[in-house]
Amino acid sequence: MLASMAGCRQESDRVRITVWHQKTGAERDFFNRVVDEYNASNADHYVDPLYKENEEGRNLFIIASVGGQGPDLIFGPADNVSIFALTESIQPVTNVLEPGYLETFSERGTVTWRDETWLVADQIGNHLTFVYNKALLPEPPTTVSEMISVLDSITADLDGDGRTDQYGLTWNYSEPFFFVPFLTAYGGGLMDEDGKPTLNTEATISAIRLILEMRDTYKVIPASTDYDTAETLFKEGRSAAIINGPWAWAGYSQVGIDYGLARIPMIEETGRWAAPYISAKGYSVNVNLDQSKVPYARRVLEYLTGPDMQRRMANELATIPVIESVIADSVLMSSELLQASLRQVEVGIPMPTAPQLRQIWDGMRGPYQLIMNGAVSPEEGAQMMQEEVEKRIADTFL
């Protein structure tokens, strides 16, 4: 007890830098470990990390920041930046970092909106990728028809009870973010350059039809799923492949799955690869950061986004670094997983940073799920998505 009291006293004497993050699974374990290491080696300040689920973290951060509170730093994807900047919840990271620090970063390593830099990244990616269990699927397919054929041979009712016990592929296909790679493969997108939604298109309809075919005609994916169910199926070896992002990969090796990464297959009829959104993930600075804390916040940021950290992350989590000197490290970058991840990023599409993206995700989710339930046709659903998103964007101004 005395030791714990002494610990409390020591902590209270140090400057506290609070960080909200949305890292999960193995990425969170890694983050907590490196924060512990940092705290053990700094006598005058320490990092106090707190996990917040992405949506929850974003909402609470805005409210806290508007109220003059909130964590000193917040970690998240690039698409949060415009909403944070619009609500004046964050300040440019250049207010805190040394002028030359960002020069070591690649172009993708920072997020700029309206001519200011609001986020410094520790990785680029956030990209959905085809992850396969090598024990069930030794070679990943490259085209969709090849994929369906291979997955069909894997999908099986192993105990003969009339229920499928092993699927070829699973992913959270009922969530719009996980639909994007197929939408882009048909040449579609969520919005145009002016930020106007572009959902009622042939591309949307074709992409939805493909997923419905995989589910209803070929039955190589589960009849219904969500993120957790998909994860469980893959981790338990009941699905040969999953479409998921870098935040999840290290968790697969933790449960003993020998996995590989590959591009999500190409659609033959368009000749396009399924292209996920890619974005930087990193740290932004609360607009309310106390001036006296700036030197400490700077040291924390430089530690969490610096070359050593990015090298360690690339090694242990297969994340893609954004500092030029780390990217140039050929030994590090020759890792099989990292190379495969980079190949997916090559065909990825930068995630839009316009604030309307929030309304697009929320507005398309409902009609999209109605299509998946068979309540409306893909054509009706695409039109409903467009109308719902337009209404939500208009409502936002009231």
């Binding site: 508007v66 909403i83 309304q359 409902g366 009231l398």
Partner: protein, 300 residues
Amino acid sequence: MVTSKNEKAALRIFIALLIGPMVVLVLAVVAYPFFFNVILSLSNMNLFHIRDWEVIGFEQYLAVFAEPRFWEILLKTLIWTLTNVVFHVVIGVMLAVLLNQLFVVGKPAWRVLLILPWALPQYITALTWRGMFNYEYGAINLVLTKYMNLPAVEWLTSPFEAFLAAILTNIWLGFPFMMVIALGGLQSIPAELYEAADADGASAWHKFRHITLPLLRPVMLPAITLGVVWTFNNINVMWLVSNGGEPNDQTHILVSFVYEAAFSAYRFGWAAALSMVIFAILFLFTAVFLNRTKATEAAY
């Protein structure tokens, strides 16, 4: 006389010291947020005016009533509240009457078992039920298909079934409260009344109808009032079971609709206006219900 004045002054100070902290607390956690919400409901606070918002009058209230989904969700909220409270009360009173019988063995164990749904944190219960409603792997469909030869139900992907799933979860969660209240009420009914009824040859139904129910009324009516208010505003179960209104925002009740407007669309002014409408509905209900039923009056 002087002593008496001093005593009165001391008494006043003593009372003020006792009441003061509570008044400050109520002002801080009830009055201030309430009046701030009233002001927000008259403002244009949204994503684009989160810091520079201003009072614009009753525009947000007009927008709430002009929103077609408001009326649809209000109807769903009324169905949700009525169905839940009816089942909570009926199941709760039935179990309480059963537990109050002399022939029931192991009453303490039964009480603990039946209170468990209420004792568990709501979000754990709601998420567990969500898992059980999974189409392919959920326990409920497994029972339906494997042991009852019935077709699997799309609990979470069809609007009606998803709404039903949330209601079933909340019924399971809510009946223990009514059971505990009813049990307390039953134990305060004098045994002599039943003995006199037995002497008159009254049947079990007559005793329940003419002794138990009227004497349970004073304890049950305030509980029902609370149950209505809690259920009307119970965002946890609806939100977690339906994963935020899925499918297609068809499983909202008014309070989850407010949450979505505020924290997904950042329409704070509109959401505040809708929350004031909810407050008005519940205030009116409580006032009329308590007045009509004379629920706060003594039974004897």
